[in-house]
Symmetry: C2
DNA sequence: AGTATATGCAACCAATTAGTTGCATGTCAA
DNA sequence: TTGACATGCAACTAATTGGTTGCATATACT
């Protein structure tokens, strides 16, 4: 796979998106609603579902989040692949 | 040192800043003018010295660039330290 | 069928940001 | 000390972006 470094770094540049990755990394396969609930409850974020949905789009464009449809739900999964070799050239 | 992840990721989210890191990584201790020249000549960038100066500020805030005064010059150096453990928690 | 739930999409807004231009400061060298 | 060179700083602009609100679509359940 040929990852788009720019999309990856841009996706990682927002703290809310990094928080989303933290959540998905710890507890894989969340729906948008579950994720929203966790971000608001657990992390005290005040943000709408739609805003989080846009963050997910950015993360998907970067390949950092993948999703599959499960009936009425869409479960989100963290994909660490784009992160390997991301810093190559600067650190070993 | 306690690095500011947000500053680091934000600094890395711009392709011109990443290019600056590439240049400084390959050829350490450049002045602002030398760096500007290389970015324009070697990489075909069309950007002003002042714009690059602002990028340097962002990189310095993130700890990724350090500088020391040498008379009338200010030489820039790449500092990879903030990059270690940057992706910790997501990849090993 | 009809309602509730989960998500998708688009227009809009305020704040941030990458860039510019113009001018000021500081240091070396003749 | 005067001129040339390297950098610093501030105001302004256009584009991007994180967020919102409102409405549309899709699937499940009774």
């Amino acid at each position: 796979m040929n990852w788009d470094k720019d999309a990856i770094f841009k996706a990682l540049s927002d703290s809310n998106r990094r928080l989303i990755l933290d959540e998905l990394s710890e507890r894989n396969e969340l729906t948008l609603y579950e994720l929203t609930a966790r971000l608001i409850m657990k992390h005290g974020l005040s943000i709408s579902r739609q805003a989080i949905s846009k963050h997910i789009s950015a993360l998907e464009d970067a390949g950092l989040v993948q999703s599959k449809r499960k009936g009425k739900y869409r479960v989100l999964m963290f994909n660490k692949e784009p992160l390997t070799d991301l810093l190559k050239g600067w650190v070993e």
